[in-house]
């Protein structure tokens, strides 16, 4: 299974390991052609396939069987075949279907971004900004739920939830004892700890980081500040917990650490899960060894006033056709 297969996504060919999903192949290329993923999480087994925002069109199944796939497929759960050709942002059909999914995700979302702690680092907000409509066509009452406190550190705000199941998988796989899941079905489904039992586990705080929207929020950070006013820095400490390595991001406002989160990579996924002690209890600069400012993608609102050298995507370097197409960007990187 170790041989490489070639897959072409939006005209860019990349060699990946056999068994890679289309989404991960696109992530190896990077840039705009990476399909958005609201429910897929590479660190959680079995996640993905639910939100349907990552749908792509497969125009050629493989070298052996060149038939196109009849429907749009979820790229996070479809593995690549040798010679597969995939269209993402170059297919109007995909963009239209994705816009449809975004619209559908937003019809029952309260759109309370002005008072939501997740605003500024919310996947749904980014998705709506890129693919959403200017105004909603939904004119009925949105479904509402009561807010639930899961223990004294986490709050569940079900109205905002898009039912990506990430937190369910986290509870299943990261923590030892699963205490939460889904109740009811259809558009009345809700995330719930069983009969609102507090999630009492050293790693329970990670559900906050995996939540793509503001449904699970950190009660120690609620309404403290907007994330774009805070300054993130990477830091670490010697954590006693055997599964936690203490590598975190601290979010500063002035001299105060307002919150601690796990470090996130460019796709918004945490690099390593952290324990609750690091997350909730160590909020003094003295607890941490500070490394450097956190890299924030320049498309994010948090990146305002951050300056970084532009780095061309690594697929551009070996490919002359792509170099010619991106001449201006390449020139900028040399100049600055």
């Amino acid at each position: 299974m170790s041989e490489k297969v070639k897959v072409t996504i939006d005209g860019i060919t990349v060699e990946v390991d056999n068994g890679t999903t289309i989404l991960n192949a696109a992530r190896q290329i990077g840039g705009d052609i990476v399909p958005p993923a609201m429910c897929y999480y590479s660190k959680l087994q079995g996640s993905g396939g639910k939100c349907r925002t990552c749908i792509v069109k497969v125009t050629k199944g493989s070298e052996k069987d060149p038939r196109p796939m009849p429907k749009l497929v979820a790229s996070c759960r479809t593995t690549v075949m040798d010679g597969m050709e995939v269209l993402n942002i170059t297919s109007p059909e995909v963009l239209e279907a994705r816009a449809g999914v975004v619209e559908i995700l937003l019809i029952n979302h309260p759109l309370d971004c002005p008072v939501c702690d997740q605003a500024g680092e919310c996947d749904l907000q980014n998705l709506g900004y890129e693919h959403g409509l200017q105004k909603t066509r939904y004119e009925f009452e949105r479904r509402t739920f009561e807010r639930i406190d899961i223990g004294d550190k986490i709050q569940l705000h079900m109205n905002r939830c898009i039912l990506c199941y990430r937190c369910v998988f986290t509870a299943d796989q990261i923590t030892n004892k699963r205490v939460h899941g889904i109740l009811n079905r259809g558009d009345h489904s809700e995330i719930s700890t069983y009969i609102q039992q507090a999630v009492d586990n050293d790693f329970s705080g990670n559900v906050i980081d995996v939540c793509p929207v503001g449904a699970l929020t950190d009660r120690t950070f609620r309404f403290k500040n907007r994330v774009w006013f805070t300054k993130p820095v990477d830091a670490h400490r010697d954590c006693d917990h055997e599964k936690c390595n203490g590598k975190v991001t601290l979010w500063y406002k002035g001299a105060d650490v307002l919150r601690v989160t796990a470090r996130k990579d460019q796709f918004g996924e945490v690099e390593e899960f952290i324990c609750n002690t690091c997350r909730f209890d160590k909020k003094a600069t003295a607890d941490w060894v500070i490394e450097h400012p956190t890299h924030i993608d320049d498309t994010s609102v948090i990146a305002s006033n951050h300056y970084e050298t532009l780095k061309p995507l690594h697929v551009i370097q070996p490919n002359e056709a792509l170099q010619a197409a991106n001449e201006i960007e390449l020139h900028k990187t040399v100049k600055y």
Partner: protein
Amino acid sequence: MSRKLLLEHINVPGINTLEVYRQKGGYRAVEKALKTLTPEEIVEEVKKSGLRGRGGAGFPTGMKWSFLAKPEGVARYLVCNADESEPGTFKDRYLMTYIPHALIEGMIVSSFALGAKVSYIYVRGEMMPQIRILEKAIAEAKAAGWLGKNILGTGYDLELYVQPGGGAYICGEETALLESLEGKRGNPRIKPPFPAIAGLYGCPTVVNNVESIAAVVPIINDGGDEYAKIGIGRSTGTKLISASGNLVKPGVYEIELGLPVEEFIYSDEYCGGIANGKRLKATVAGGSSVPVLPANLTLKLANGEPRLMSYESLSEGGFATGTMLGSGGFIAFDEDQCIVRNTWNFSRFYHHESCGQCSPCREGTGWMEKVLHKIEHGHGTMEDVDLLWDIQRKIEGNTICPLGDAAAWPVASAIRHFRDEFEWHIKEPIKSQSQNYGIANYATPIEKAPVAEEK
């Protein structure tokens, strides 16, 4: 009289008992299969018969069986899908109530063909009487040595279990059924892997409809070639049709595939025409998920040829002018029925039954239901019809399992064929609350060239 294979002895008193069923030639297929045939030969017979899945999708059963992975040392399972919950379909319940041994006999033969040592019948939770009937019949068969260890001295062991479901429509989807059978929440799995590779408890599994499994019995008794002679084209054999709606004689009928739809509705052998001397307005030919068709397109193809009850003929013309055989839930609407109200009712069902796993279906079904409710109750606007069309297009094909498609198709077809009725509801909000749109031109016979019903 056409040939009856499944319901031949349905009116014999006591056919639900093993004794009478044996007298009428029951369990011959088990004897023949276990003593004279190898599993491969049975699969070959089923392939030759051309039997297609009776649950709705119409996938060839023999082909499905031959896809089953057979790794060494891993158990294989046969699961019978008796979670019949499609509105308009009640054939499996009928079969299980009156001839439970036909299903059990089919299960034994099929399990032997697939090499399954343990098989399950997953029955919908609402069908408690049928569960008891099946359990009683299994106990009878076991006492007589048709089940259990060393059946008929051939060394083949089979345990058959009945598992009641919770009564969710989604558990009729095969992977959701397997999840539910495993004791988890009945959410459909993401495919691949297909159940033939990793199904129940991660083992290769075949999931078949009750009627498909029961149809294996006549195939083994008479041979696959003999079975393939019945029917038309690639639609072989007989099919149970659950006829309901405004018919003189609604009920379960066994038809030979290829019967003209007109004959099925109007002949006295079958439904006997439309009740109370009314005219036919529209039909749903295969259970609530298939597109609804106006009367003229039900009886005739777009080119004026008569439409037949077969997989191919019903889907002739694609979704523009055709429908699907589906699970055989035939619903007839007379001229007094309101298509908007009916579409809303179907939509309400899918909203209620969506599992909530993937977003287009979870949110979209509810949205469609609300818009349809608004139109039906006289608050609609013209934009709402276009909006509905847009929503269904965004659901169809973008979901994990076919429930999204099933929710989208009735709405799409209702707008495609009955758009003027929707518009009438919007233009006449007060009148539409007390009156019906009537039959309009929906029953105008189709002459020759295709009519432009397309939106």
